[in-house]
Protein backbone atom coordinates (compact mmCIF):
# COMPACT_ATOMS: atom_id res chain seq x y z
CA UNK A 1 0.00 0.00 0.00
CA UNK A 2 1.44 3.37 -0.94
CA UNK A 3 1.56 6.27 1.55
CA UNK A 4 -0.92 9.03 0.64
CA UNK A 5 -0.07 12.73 0.80
CA UNK A 6 -2.76 15.07 2.06
CA UNK A 7 -1.29 18.29 3.54
CA UNK A 8 -4.53 19.28 5.33
CA UNK A 9 -4.77 15.88 6.99
CA UNK A 10 -1.10 15.93 7.90
CA UNK A 11 -1.51 19.35 9.53
CA UNK A 12 -4.48 18.10 11.55
CA UNK A 13 -2.62 14.99 12.71
CA UNK A 14 0.47 16.98 13.67
CA UNK A 15 -1.78 19.31 15.64
CA UNK A 16 -3.26 16.40 17.56
CA UNK A 17 -0.08 14.35 17.95
CA UNK A 18 2.22 17.06 19.23
CA UNK A 19 3.94 17.61 15.90
CA UNK A 20 4.32 13.96 14.95
CA UNK A 21 2.97 12.30 11.81
CA UNK A 22 2.81 8.54 12.42
CA UNK A 23 3.30 6.45 9.26
CA UNK A 24 0.06 4.58 9.88
CA UNK A 25 -1.95 7.78 9.46
CA UNK A 26 -0.08 8.56 6.25
CA UNK A 27 -0.67 5.08 4.80
CA UNK A 28 -4.35 5.14 5.77
CA UNK A 29 -4.87 8.69 4.52
CA UNK A 30 -6.62 7.90 1.23
CA UNK A 31 -9.85 6.97 2.99
CA UNK A 32 -11.45 9.77 5.02
CA UNK A 33 -13.31 7.46 7.37
CA UNK A 34 -10.53 4.88 7.85
CA UNK A 35 -7.93 7.51 8.72
CA UNK A 36 -10.37 9.22 11.07
CA UNK A 37 -11.27 5.87 12.65
CA UNK A 38 -7.58 5.14 13.26
CA UNK A 39 -6.80 8.55 14.73
CA UNK A 40 -9.90 8.54 16.95
CA UNK A 41 -9.42 4.94 18.10
CA UNK A 42 -5.88 5.81 19.15
CA UNK A 43 -7.19 8.60 21.40
CA UNK A 44 -10.59 7.29 22.45
CA UNK A 45 -11.40 8.84 25.85
CA UNK A 46 -11.62 6.59 28.89
CA UNK A 47 -13.14 7.73 32.17
CA UNK A 48 -12.17 4.95 34.57
CA UNK A 49 -8.78 3.61 33.50
CA UNK A 50 -5.37 4.92 34.52
CA UNK A 51 -3.00 5.50 31.58
CA UNK A 52 -0.86 2.62 32.81
CA UNK A 53 -3.87 0.28 32.48
CA UNK A 54 -4.68 1.63 29.03
CA UNK A 55 -1.11 1.08 27.87
CA UNK A 56 -1.03 -2.38 29.36
CA UNK A 57 -4.24 -3.27 27.50
CA UNK A 58 -2.76 -1.75 24.33
CA UNK A 59 0.46 -3.73 24.57
CA UNK A 60 -1.25 -7.04 25.27
CA UNK A 61 -3.77 -6.54 22.46
CA UNK A 62 -1.09 -5.55 19.95
CA UNK A 63 1.00 -8.54 20.96
CA UNK A 64 -1.96 -10.88 20.62
CA UNK A 65 -2.77 -9.46 17.19
CA UNK A 66 0.90 -9.76 16.17
CA UNK A 67 0.99 -6.10 15.12
CA UNK A 68 4.65 -5.14 15.01
CA UNK A 69 3.84 -1.50 14.30
CA UNK A 70 1.45 -0.91 17.22
CA UNK A 71 3.44 -3.13 19.53
CA UNK A 72 6.56 -1.00 19.03
CA UNK A 73 4.55 2.18 19.67
CA UNK A 74 2.95 0.69 22.79
CA UNK A 75 6.37 -0.21 24.21
CA UNK A 76 7.56 3.35 23.64
CA UNK A 77 4.53 4.82 25.42
CA UNK A 78 4.87 2.37 28.30
CA UNK A 79 8.48 3.38 28.81
CA UNK A 80 7.46 7.05 28.72
CA UNK A 81 5.13 6.52 31.65
CA UNK A 82 7.66 4.63 33.69
CA UNK A 83 7.40 0.94 32.83
CA UNK A 84 10.86 -0.59 32.86
CA UNK A 85 12.09 -2.99 30.20
CA UNK A 86 11.92 -5.71 32.80
CA UNK A 87 8.25 -5.00 33.55
CA UNK A 88 7.35 -4.98 29.87
CA UNK A 89 9.25 -8.21 29.29
CA UNK A 90 7.36 -9.83 32.13
CA UNK A 91 4.03 -8.93 30.54
CA UNK A 92 5.19 -10.07 27.14
CA UNK A 93 6.36 -13.36 28.54
CA UNK A 94 3.03 -14.66 29.58
CA UNK A 95 4.76 -17.56 31.34
CA UNK A 96 5.57 -15.36 34.35
CA UNK A 97 2.11 -13.96 34.90
CA UNK A 98 1.49 -16.46 37.68
CA UNK A 99 3.68 -14.22 39.83
CA UNK A 100 1.85 -10.96 38.97
CA UNK A 101 -0.67 -9.19 41.23
CA UNK A 102 -4.18 -10.68 40.78
CA UNK A 103 -5.53 -7.40 39.35
CA UNK A 104 -2.74 -7.03 36.81
CA UNK A 105 -2.92 -10.71 35.91
CA UNK A 106 -6.67 -10.54 35.35
CA UNK A 107 -6.38 -7.38 33.26
CA UNK A 108 -3.77 -9.01 31.02
CA UNK A 109 -5.74 -12.24 30.79
CA UNK A 110 -9.00 -10.44 30.02
CA UNK A 111 -7.43 -8.41 27.21
CA UNK A 112 -5.58 -11.42 25.83
CA UNK A 113 -8.69 -13.62 25.83
CA UNK A 114 -10.85 -10.94 24.23
CA UNK A 115 -8.30 -10.08 21.55
CA UNK A 116 -7.83 -13.77 20.83
CA UNK A 117 -11.52 -14.73 21.14
CA UNK A 118 -11.02 -18.47 20.96
CA UNK A 119 -13.76 -18.48 22.16
CA UNK A 120 -15.02 -14.98 22.90
CA UNK A 121 -15.13 -14.28 26.66
CA UNK A 122 -18.59 -13.73 28.14
CA UNK A 123 -20.37 -12.98 31.41
CA UNK A 124 -18.03 -15.24 33.41
CA UNK A 125 -15.03 -13.16 32.35
CA UNK A 126 -16.78 -9.96 33.42
CA UNK A 127 -17.63 -11.59 36.74
CA UNK A 128 -13.98 -12.55 37.27
CA UNK A 129 -12.95 -8.95 36.64
CA UNK A 130 -15.41 -7.79 39.28
CA UNK A 131 -14.00 -10.27 41.79
CA UNK A 132 -10.51 -8.77 41.52
CA UNK A 133 -11.84 -5.24 41.96
CA UNK A 134 -12.60 -3.87 38.51
CA UNK A 135 -15.80 -1.82 38.27
CA UNK A 136 -18.32 -2.51 35.51
CA UNK A 137 -17.22 0.72 33.78
CA UNK A 138 -13.57 -0.33 33.89
CA UNK A 139 -14.39 -3.71 32.30
CA UNK A 140 -16.43 -1.97 29.60
CA UNK A 141 -13.57 0.42 28.89
CA UNK A 142 -10.99 -2.36 28.79
CA UNK A 143 -13.16 -4.20 26.25
CA UNK A 144 -13.40 -0.98 24.27
CA UNK A 145 -9.61 -0.59 24.45
CA UNK A 146 -9.17 -4.10 23.04
CA UNK A 147 -11.63 -3.28 20.24
CA UNK A 148 -10.05 0.08 19.42
CA UNK A 149 -6.46 -1.11 19.61
CA UNK A 150 -7.45 -4.20 17.60
CA UNK A 151 -8.84 -1.87 14.92
CA UNK A 152 -5.49 -0.05 14.70
CA UNK A 153 -3.61 -3.39 14.76
CA UNK A 154 -5.54 -4.79 11.83
CA UNK A 155 -5.28 -1.64 9.75
CA UNK A 156 -1.51 -1.34 10.38
CA UNK A 157 -0.84 -5.00 9.61
CA UNK A 158 -3.15 -5.39 6.63
CA UNK A 159 -1.76 -2.33 4.88
CA UNK A 160 1.78 -3.27 6.01
CA UNK A 161 2.81 -0.03 7.72
CA UNK A 162 6.55 -0.15 8.47
CA UNK A 163 7.43 0.16 12.19
CA UNK A 164 8.45 3.56 13.61
CA UNK A 165 12.03 2.51 14.29
CA UNK A 166 13.29 6.06 14.80
CA UNK A 167 10.68 6.82 17.44
CA UNK A 168 11.35 3.50 19.15
CA UNK A 169 15.08 4.27 19.29
CA UNK A 170 14.46 7.76 20.72
CA UNK A 171 12.12 6.55 23.44
CA UNK A 172 14.85 6.31 26.09
CA UNK A 173 15.19 10.07 26.35
CA UNK A 174 11.46 10.74 26.55
CA UNK A 175 10.73 9.87 30.16
CA UNK A 176 9.43 12.60 32.39
CA UNK A 177 8.76 12.38 36.11
CA UNK A 178 5.25 13.82 35.77
CA UNK A 179 4.42 11.40 32.95
CA UNK A 180 5.49 8.55 35.18
CA UNK A 181 3.59 9.67 38.24
CA UNK A 182 0.36 10.74 36.56
CA UNK A 183 0.15 7.47 34.63
CA UNK A 184 -0.64 5.54 37.78
CA UNK A 185 -3.28 7.96 39.03
CA UNK A 186 -6.92 7.69 38.02
CA UNK A 187 -8.35 10.89 36.57
CA UNK A 188 -11.63 12.07 35.13
CA UNK A 189 -11.00 11.39 31.45
CA UNK A 190 -7.81 10.08 29.88
CA UNK A 191 -6.62 9.13 26.44
CA UNK A 192 -3.62 7.06 25.47
CA UNK A 193 -0.54 9.24 25.32
CA UNK A 194 -2.52 12.15 26.82
CA UNK A 195 -3.76 13.21 23.36
CA UNK A 196 -6.73 15.55 23.02
CA UNK A 197 -9.85 13.37 22.67
CA UNK A 198 -11.78 13.50 19.38
CA UNK A 199 -14.67 15.88 19.10
CA UNK A 200 -17.51 13.40 18.48
CA UNK A 201 -21.16 14.24 19.23
CA UNK A 202 -22.80 12.34 22.09
CA UNK A 203 -24.22 9.03 20.85
CA UNK A 204 -27.91 8.77 19.90
CA UNK A 205 -27.81 4.96 19.38
CA UNK A 206 -29.76 5.27 16.13
CA UNK A 207 -27.11 4.24 13.61
CA UNK A 208 -25.87 0.77 12.64
CA UNK A 209 -25.17 -1.36 15.72
CA UNK A 210 -26.71 1.31 17.96
CA UNK A 211 -27.48 -1.34 20.60
CA UNK A 212 -23.78 -2.14 20.82
CA UNK A 213 -22.96 1.53 21.44
CA UNK A 214 -25.67 1.53 24.12
CA UNK A 215 -24.03 -1.50 25.77
CA UNK A 216 -21.02 0.71 26.52
CA UNK A 217 -23.28 2.14 29.18
CA UNK A 218 -22.39 5.80 28.88
CA UNK A 219 -18.61 5.34 28.61
CA UNK A 220 -17.24 8.41 26.77
CA UNK A 221 -15.60 6.16 24.15
CA UNK A 222 -19.10 5.27 22.94
CA UNK A 223 -19.27 8.50 20.98
CA UNK A 224 -16.12 7.49 19.07
CA UNK A 225 -17.52 4.05 18.29
CA UNK A 226 -20.83 5.47 17.06
CA UNK A 227 -19.16 8.12 14.90
CA UNK A 228 -16.83 5.51 13.41
CA UNK A 229 -19.70 3.13 12.61
CA UNK A 230 -21.77 5.93 11.06
CA UNK A 231 -18.84 7.13 8.94
CA UNK A 232 -18.00 3.59 7.78
CA UNK A 233 -21.55 2.75 6.76
CA UNK A 234 -21.93 6.09 4.96
CA UNK A 235 -18.86 5.56 2.76
CA UNK A 236 -19.28 5.90 -1.00
CA UNK A 237 -16.23 3.75 -1.75
CA UNK A 238 -17.21 0.53 -0.01
CA UNK A 239 -20.96 -0.02 -0.47
CA UNK A 240 -23.05 -0.39 2.68
CA UNK A 241 -24.10 -3.86 1.50
CA UNK A 242 -20.50 -5.02 1.15
CA UNK A 243 -19.60 -3.72 4.57
CA UNK A 244 -22.65 -5.43 6.08
CA UNK A 245 -21.58 -8.71 4.46
CA UNK A 246 -18.09 -8.32 5.94
CA UNK A 247 -19.69 -7.79 9.37
CA UNK A 248 -21.84 -10.90 8.85
CA UNK A 249 -18.92 -13.14 7.90
CA UNK A 250 -16.78 -12.00 10.83
CA UNK A 251 -19.71 -12.42 13.22
CA UNK A 252 -20.35 -15.92 11.86
CA UNK A 253 -16.69 -16.87 12.27
CA UNK A 254 -16.77 -15.77 15.90
CA UNK A 255 -20.23 -17.29 16.55
CA UNK A 256 -21.77 -13.91 17.35
CA UNK A 257 -25.51 -14.16 16.79
CA UNK A 258 -26.10 -10.55 17.81
CA UNK A 259 -23.76 -9.06 15.21
CA UNK A 260 -24.92 -11.52 12.57
CA UNK A 261 -28.54 -10.49 13.14
CA UNK A 262 -27.48 -6.84 13.03
CA UNK A 263 -25.83 -7.43 9.66
CA UNK A 264 -28.87 -9.35 8.38
CA UNK A 265 -31.12 -6.38 9.26
CA UNK A 266 -28.82 -3.94 7.47
CA UNK A 267 -28.69 -6.25 4.45
CA UNK A 268 -32.46 -6.59 4.26
CA UNK A 269 -32.69 -2.82 3.87
CA UNK A 270 -30.26 -3.19 0.95
CA UNK A 271 -32.51 -5.85 -0.66
CA UNK A 272 -30.33 -8.81 0.35
CA UNK A 273 -32.59 -11.47 1.85
CA UNK A 274 -31.87 -13.65 4.89
CA UNK A 275 -31.83 -16.75 2.63
CA UNK A 276 -29.24 -15.14 0.41
CA UNK A 277 -27.16 -14.26 3.46
CA UNK A 278 -27.50 -17.84 4.73
CA UNK A 279 -26.06 -19.07 1.43
CA UNK A 280 -23.12 -16.66 1.71
CA UNK A 281 -22.42 -17.74 5.26
CA UNK A 282 -22.58 -21.40 4.35
CA UNK A 283 -20.28 -21.29 1.34
CA UNK A 284 -18.58 -17.88 1.46
CA UNK A 285 -19.89 -17.38 -2.07
CA UNK A 286 -23.10 -16.68 -3.97
CA UNK A 287 -24.12 -15.69 -7.49
CA UNK A 288 -25.67 -12.60 -5.83
CA UNK A 289 -22.25 -11.28 -4.86
CA UNK A 290 -20.55 -8.60 -6.91
CA UNK A 291 -17.01 -9.29 -8.16
CA UNK A 292 -15.65 -7.16 -5.33
CA UNK A 293 -17.70 -9.01 -2.71
CA UNK A 294 -16.72 -12.39 -4.11
CA UNK A 295 -13.10 -11.48 -3.40
CA UNK A 296 -13.68 -9.81 -0.04
CA UNK A 297 -16.00 -12.30 1.63
CA UNK A 298 -13.58 -15.28 1.88
CA UNK A 299 -10.79 -12.86 2.83
CA UNK A 300 -12.78 -11.28 5.65
CA UNK A 301 -12.72 -14.50 7.70
CA UNK A 302 -8.93 -14.50 7.58
CA UNK A 303 -8.84 -11.18 9.44
CA UNK A 304 -10.45 -12.69 12.55
CA UNK A 305 -7.40 -14.37 14.02
CA UNK A 306 -4.31 -12.48 13.03
CA UNK A 307 -1.71 -15.14 12.35
CA UNK A 308 1.56 -15.46 14.21
CA UNK A 309 3.34 -14.41 11.04
CA UNK A 310 1.75 -11.22 9.70
CA UNK A 311 3.56 -11.92 6.43
CA UNK A 312 1.06 -14.70 5.73
CA UNK A 313 -2.04 -12.49 5.88
CA UNK A 314 -0.18 -9.75 3.98
CA UNK A 315 0.65 -12.22 1.20
CA UNK A 316 -2.97 -13.41 1.19
CA UNK A 317 -4.13 -9.78 0.86
CA UNK A 318 -1.76 -8.68 -1.90
CA UNK A 319 -3.89 -9.99 -4.82
CA UNK A 320 -6.82 -8.02 -3.39
CA UNK A 321 -4.88 -4.76 -3.57
CA UNK A 322 -4.11 -5.52 -7.24
CA UNK A 323 -7.69 -6.52 -8.04
CA UNK A 324 -9.58 -3.83 -6.13
CA UNK A 325 -7.12 -0.95 -6.09
CA UNK A 326 -5.57 0.55 -2.94
CA UNK A 327 -8.51 2.77 -2.02
CA UNK A 328 -11.19 0.07 -2.03
CA UNK A 329 -8.80 -2.34 -0.33
CA UNK A 330 -8.07 0.19 2.41
CA UNK A 331 -11.80 0.65 3.05
CA UNK A 332 -12.27 -3.12 3.17
CA UNK A 333 -9.43 -3.33 5.69
CA UNK A 334 -11.07 -0.60 7.76
CA UNK A 335 -14.42 -2.40 7.55
CA UNK A 336 -12.96 -5.74 8.60
CA UNK A 337 -11.03 -4.09 11.43
CA UNK A 338 -14.16 -2.33 12.67
CA UNK A 339 -16.25 -5.49 12.42
CA UNK A 340 -13.67 -7.46 14.40
CA UNK A 341 -13.76 -4.84 17.14
CA UNK A 342 -17.57 -4.73 17.25
CA UNK A 343 -17.97 -8.50 17.37
CA UNK A 344 -15.56 -8.69 20.29
CA UNK A 345 -17.42 -5.90 22.06
CA UNK A 346 -20.68 -7.83 21.99
CA UNK A 347 -19.28 -9.79 24.92
CA UNK A 348 -20.72 -6.91 26.92
CA UNK A 349 -24.22 -7.78 25.73
CA UNK A 350 -24.30 -11.46 26.72
Amino acid sequence: MPAFDDPAWEAEVRGVMGGMMPSSLKYAASSPWVRRAYLDAARAPMSSLAPSEMELAGLVTSQENACRYCYGSARVRMKMIGFTDEMIDRIERNVQLVEAEPRERELVQFCRDLARSKPRPSRAAREKMREVGFTARQTVELALMVAMVGLCNRISTLIAVPPELEMEAQSKGMKGLWNKLSAWLPSKTQTRGGLAPPDCPPPNFKGPYGSLVRALDGAPGGSVLEATLNNAFASEVLPRRTLSLIFAVIAHTLECQLCETGAAELLEVEGFSRDELAEVLQTLASPRLTEMEALLIPWARDTVWMPEQPARIQARSRPLVDALGPRVYLEAVGGAALANGCVRLTMLQV
Partner: protein, 265 residues
Protein backbone atom coordinates in the same frame (compact mmCIF):
# COMPACT_ATOMS: atom_id res chain seq x y z
CA UNK B 1 33.52 15.82 74.47
CA UNK B 2 35.52 16.20 71.25
CA UNK B 3 37.04 12.74 71.78
CA UNK B 4 33.58 11.27 72.32
CA UNK B 5 32.37 12.95 69.13
CA UNK B 6 35.34 11.57 67.20
CA UNK B 7 34.68 8.08 68.57
CA UNK B 8 31.02 8.40 67.67
CA UNK B 9 31.88 9.65 64.18
CA UNK B 10 34.42 6.86 63.67
CA UNK B 11 31.85 4.39 64.93
CA UNK B 12 29.19 5.79 62.61
CA UNK B 13 31.63 5.74 59.69
CA UNK B 14 32.43 2.13 60.52
CA UNK B 15 28.74 1.21 60.60
CA UNK B 16 28.19 3.09 57.34
CA UNK B 17 31.12 1.33 55.70
CA UNK B 18 29.75 -1.98 56.95
CA UNK B 19 26.36 -1.12 55.50
CA UNK B 20 27.90 -0.15 52.17
CA UNK B 21 29.77 -3.47 52.02
CA UNK B 22 26.60 -5.31 52.99
CA UNK B 23 24.58 -3.43 50.35
CA UNK B 24 27.19 -4.29 47.72
CA UNK B 25 27.01 -7.94 48.71
CA UNK B 26 23.24 -7.84 48.54
CA UNK B 27 23.37 -6.16 45.16
CA UNK B 28 25.75 -8.82 43.87
CA UNK B 29 23.45 -11.49 45.29
CA UNK B 30 20.39 -9.94 43.63
CA UNK B 31 22.30 -9.65 40.37
CA UNK B 32 23.28 -13.34 40.57
CA UNK B 33 19.66 -14.33 41.22
CA UNK B 34 18.45 -12.10 38.38
CA UNK B 35 20.87 -13.73 35.96
CA UNK B 36 19.81 -17.17 37.15
CA UNK B 37 16.13 -16.19 36.85
CA UNK B 38 16.66 -14.77 33.36
CA UNK B 39 18.37 -18.02 32.32
CA UNK B 40 15.51 -20.07 33.77
CA UNK B 41 12.96 -17.92 31.95
CA UNK B 42 14.90 -18.29 28.73
CA UNK B 43 15.02 -22.05 29.20
CA UNK B 44 11.32 -22.16 30.02
CA UNK B 45 10.49 -20.11 26.95
CA UNK B 46 12.64 -22.32 24.79
CA UNK B 47 10.77 -25.36 26.12
CA UNK B 48 7.44 -23.58 25.57
CA UNK B 49 8.37 -22.62 22.01
CA UNK B 50 9.50 -26.18 21.27
CA UNK B 51 6.36 -27.58 22.83
CA UNK B 52 4.25 -25.41 20.52
CA UNK B 53 5.42 -27.61 17.66
CA UNK B 54 3.64 -30.54 19.27
CA UNK B 55 0.51 -29.00 20.76
CA UNK B 56 -1.75 -26.01 20.07
CA UNK B 57 -0.54 -22.65 21.42
CA UNK B 58 -3.59 -22.23 23.68
CA UNK B 59 -3.00 -25.60 25.32
CA UNK B 60 0.72 -24.91 25.82
CA UNK B 61 -0.09 -21.56 27.44
CA UNK B 62 -2.57 -23.16 29.81
CA UNK B 63 0.11 -25.60 30.98
CA UNK B 64 2.75 -22.87 31.18
CA UNK B 65 0.47 -20.86 33.47
CA UNK B 66 0.26 -23.69 35.90
CA UNK B 67 -2.83 -25.59 34.80
CA UNK B 68 -2.12 -29.28 35.42
CA UNK B 69 -4.62 -30.44 32.85
CA UNK B 70 -6.56 -29.09 29.91
CA UNK B 71 -10.31 -29.68 29.90
CA UNK B 72 -11.25 -32.10 27.08
CA UNK B 73 -14.38 -31.19 25.12
CA UNK B 74 -16.82 -32.50 22.54
CA UNK B 75 -16.65 -30.69 19.25
CA UNK B 76 -17.36 -31.09 15.57
CA UNK B 77 -14.10 -31.63 13.75
CA UNK B 78 -13.14 -32.62 10.22
CA UNK B 79 -10.42 -35.23 10.14
CA UNK B 80 -8.03 -35.90 7.31
CA UNK B 81 -5.69 -38.86 6.95
CA UNK B 82 -3.00 -38.83 4.27
CA UNK B 83 -0.67 -41.70 3.55
CA UNK B 84 2.06 -42.26 0.96
CA UNK B 85 1.39 -45.13 -1.41
CA UNK B 86 4.25 -47.52 -2.11
CA UNK B 87 6.70 -45.63 0.04
CA UNK B 88 8.03 -48.71 1.89
CA UNK B 89 9.51 -50.41 -1.23
CA UNK B 90 10.86 -47.04 -2.36
CA UNK B 91 12.48 -46.41 1.02
CA UNK B 92 14.30 -49.76 0.78
CA UNK B 93 16.09 -48.59 -2.37
CA UNK B 94 17.46 -45.31 -1.02
CA UNK B 95 19.86 -44.57 1.89
CA UNK B 96 18.17 -43.76 5.24
CA UNK B 97 19.40 -40.15 5.30
CA UNK B 98 18.02 -39.50 1.80
CA UNK B 99 14.76 -41.18 2.77
CA UNK B 100 14.35 -38.99 5.86
CA UNK B 101 15.20 -35.89 3.86
CA UNK B 102 12.65 -36.90 1.23
CA UNK B 103 10.00 -37.47 3.88
CA UNK B 104 10.75 -34.20 5.67
CA UNK B 105 10.39 -32.30 2.40
CA UNK B 106 7.06 -34.04 1.80
CA UNK B 107 5.75 -33.14 5.28
CA UNK B 108 6.93 -29.54 4.87
CA UNK B 109 5.01 -29.25 1.60
CA UNK B 110 1.88 -30.86 3.06
CA UNK B 111 1.97 -28.71 6.19
CA UNK B 112 2.16 -25.53 4.08
CA UNK B 113 -1.01 -26.56 2.22
CA UNK B 114 -2.78 -27.49 5.46
CA UNK B 115 -1.97 -24.25 7.26
CA UNK B 116 -2.99 -22.16 4.24
CA UNK B 117 -6.47 -23.71 4.51
CA UNK B 118 -6.97 -23.43 8.28
CA UNK B 119 -5.81 -26.96 9.02
CA UNK B 120 -3.63 -28.18 11.85
CA UNK B 121 -1.19 -31.07 11.51
CA UNK B 122 -2.03 -33.22 14.51
CA UNK B 123 0.09 -36.32 14.18
CA UNK B 124 2.73 -37.96 12.00
CA UNK B 125 2.65 -41.74 11.72
CA UNK B 126 5.61 -43.01 9.69
CA UNK B 127 4.87 -41.72 6.21
CA UNK B 128 1.28 -40.86 7.14
CA UNK B 129 -0.28 -37.85 8.74
CA UNK B 130 -3.48 -36.86 10.51
CA UNK B 131 -4.73 -33.29 10.16
CA UNK B 132 -7.64 -31.59 11.87
CA UNK B 133 -9.94 -28.77 10.85
CA UNK B 134 -12.03 -26.96 13.46
CA UNK B 135 -10.26 -28.61 16.41
CA UNK B 136 -8.60 -25.47 17.73
CA UNK B 137 -11.20 -22.86 16.93
CA UNK B 138 -14.78 -22.63 15.71
CA UNK B 139 -14.73 -23.14 11.95
CA UNK B 140 -18.07 -23.24 10.12
CA UNK B 141 -16.29 -23.95 6.82
CA UNK B 142 -14.14 -26.80 8.05
CA UNK B 143 -15.21 -29.45 5.51
CA UNK B 144 -14.66 -27.16 2.52
CA UNK B 145 -11.34 -26.09 4.04
CA UNK B 146 -10.26 -29.73 4.41
CA UNK B 147 -11.13 -30.56 0.80
CA UNK B 148 -9.43 -27.40 -0.49
CA UNK B 149 -6.39 -28.33 1.61
CA UNK B 150 -6.37 -31.81 0.04
CA UNK B 151 -6.46 -30.23 -3.44
CA UNK B 152 -3.63 -27.88 -2.46
CA UNK B 153 -1.71 -30.91 -1.14
CA UNK B 154 -2.19 -32.60 -4.51
CA UNK B 155 -0.64 -29.55 -6.24
CA UNK B 156 2.13 -29.34 -3.64
CA UNK B 157 2.94 -33.02 -4.12
CA UNK B 158 3.12 -32.55 -7.90
CA UNK B 159 5.57 -29.67 -7.40
CA UNK B 160 7.60 -31.71 -4.91
CA UNK B 161 7.70 -34.65 -7.31
CA UNK B 162 9.20 -32.43 -10.01
CA UNK B 163 11.91 -31.48 -7.52
CA UNK B 164 12.51 -35.13 -6.59
CA UNK B 165 12.67 -36.19 -10.23
CA UNK B 166 15.26 -33.48 -10.83
CA UNK B 167 17.34 -35.06 -8.08
CA UNK B 168 16.94 -38.53 -9.61
CA UNK B 169 14.70 -39.77 -6.81
CA UNK B 170 11.39 -41.60 -7.24
CA UNK B 171 7.97 -40.09 -7.49
CA UNK B 172 5.62 -40.01 -4.49
CA UNK B 173 1.89 -40.75 -4.55
CA UNK B 174 -0.59 -40.30 -1.76
CA UNK B 175 -4.11 -41.16 -0.68
CA UNK B 176 -6.22 -38.73 1.35
CA UNK B 177 -9.39 -39.60 3.30
CA UNK B 178 -11.67 -36.97 4.86
CA UNK B 179 -14.57 -37.39 7.25
CA UNK B 180 -16.38 -35.09 9.67
CA UNK B 181 -18.17 -35.67 12.97
CA UNK B 182 -18.31 -35.17 16.72
CA UNK B 183 -15.15 -36.13 18.60
CA UNK B 184 -13.57 -35.58 21.98
CA UNK B 185 -10.61 -33.20 21.73
CA UNK B 186 -8.01 -32.69 24.42
CA UNK B 187 -4.56 -33.44 25.75
CA UNK B 188 -4.19 -37.18 26.21
CA UNK B 189 -1.47 -39.60 27.17
CA UNK B 190 0.62 -40.62 30.14
CA UNK B 191 2.99 -38.68 32.42
CA UNK B 192 5.81 -39.41 29.99
CA UNK B 193 4.08 -38.72 26.69
CA UNK B 194 1.12 -36.48 26.05
CA UNK B 195 -0.38 -34.96 22.95
CA UNK B 196 -3.32 -32.83 21.88
CA UNK B 197 -5.51 -35.03 19.75
CA UNK B 198 -9.04 -36.16 19.04
CA UNK B 199 -10.72 -39.52 19.60
CA UNK B 200 -13.99 -41.01 18.44
CA UNK B 201 -15.57 -43.02 15.67
CA UNK B 202 -15.16 -40.27 13.03
CA UNK B 203 -11.38 -40.61 13.42
CA UNK B 204 -11.55 -44.34 12.61
CA UNK B 205 -13.82 -43.70 9.64
CA UNK B 206 -11.46 -41.07 8.21
CA UNK B 207 -8.61 -43.60 8.46
CA UNK B 208 -10.71 -46.28 6.71
CA UNK B 209 -11.66 -43.84 3.95
CA UNK B 210 -8.00 -43.06 3.35
CA UNK B 211 -7.39 -46.80 2.91
CA UNK B 212 -10.22 -46.92 0.36
CA UNK B 213 -8.27 -44.64 -1.98
CA UNK B 214 -6.30 -47.79 -2.93
CA UNK B 215 -9.51 -49.73 -3.60
CA UNK B 216 -11.03 -46.98 -5.76
CA UNK B 217 -7.66 -45.99 -7.29
CA UNK B 218 -8.15 -42.29 -6.59
CA UNK B 219 -6.11 -39.87 -4.48
CA UNK B 220 -8.76 -37.89 -2.56
CA UNK B 221 -11.91 -39.42 -1.07
CA UNK B 222 -14.54 -37.89 1.20
CA UNK B 223 -17.51 -39.42 3.00
CA UNK B 224 -21.15 -38.66 2.36
CA UNK B 225 -21.23 -36.48 5.51
CA UNK B 226 -18.53 -34.27 4.02
CA UNK B 227 -20.05 -34.37 0.55
CA UNK B 228 -23.41 -33.07 1.87
CA UNK B 229 -21.74 -29.87 3.05
CA UNK B 230 -19.82 -29.11 -0.15
CA UNK B 231 -21.16 -26.63 -2.67
CA UNK B 232 -21.30 -27.39 -6.42
CA UNK B 233 -17.96 -25.70 -7.06
CA UNK B 234 -16.32 -28.94 -5.91
CA UNK B 235 -16.21 -31.36 -8.84
CA UNK B 236 -16.86 -34.83 -7.41
CA UNK B 237 -17.59 -38.40 -8.51
CA UNK B 238 -19.60 -40.95 -6.51
CA UNK B 239 -17.74 -44.19 -5.74
CA UNK B 240 -19.52 -47.50 -5.13
CA UNK B 241 -20.17 -48.13 -1.40
CA UNK B 242 -17.65 -50.51 0.18
CA UNK B 243 -17.86 -52.50 3.42
CA UNK B 244 -15.11 -51.65 5.89
CA UNK B 245 -13.93 -53.22 9.12
CA UNK B 246 -15.97 -52.18 12.16
CA UNK B 247 -18.90 -50.76 10.20
CA UNK B 248 -22.18 -52.61 9.69
CA UNK B 249 -23.12 -50.59 6.59
CA UNK B 250 -20.92 -50.10 3.52
CA UNK B 251 -19.34 -46.63 3.31
CA UNK B 252 -20.33 -44.38 0.42
CA UNK B 253 -17.49 -42.16 -0.70
CA UNK B 254 -16.87 -39.46 -3.30
CA UNK B 255 -13.68 -38.76 -5.22
CA UNK B 256 -12.68 -35.12 -5.44
CA UNK B 257 -11.60 -34.12 -8.94
CA UNK B 258 -11.21 -30.36 -8.70
CA UNK B 259 -12.56 -27.05 -7.48
CA UNK B 260 -14.02 -24.75 -10.10
CA UNK B 261 -14.51 -21.18 -8.88
CA UNK B 262 -16.62 -20.33 -11.95
CA UNK B 263 -19.31 -22.89 -11.11
CA UNK B 264 -22.34 -21.63 -9.20
CA UNK B 265 -21.90 -21.92 -5.43
Amino acid sequence: MTAALVVALVGAAGVLAGLVVYAQRLRAEVSRHRTALARSVERLEHIEQSFKRFAPTDVVEQYAQGAGTSEPSHRKVTIMFADLKGFTPLSERIPPAAMVEMLNGYFRAMNGALVAHHGHLSRLMGDGLMALFGALEHNPWQTADAVKAALAMRDALAAYNRELEGRGLGKLEFGVGIHTGDVVAGVMGSDRFMEFTVIGDPVNIAARVEALTRVHRVDILVTEEVMKTLDPRFVTRAMPPVAVKGKAEPIATFAIDSYDERRKA
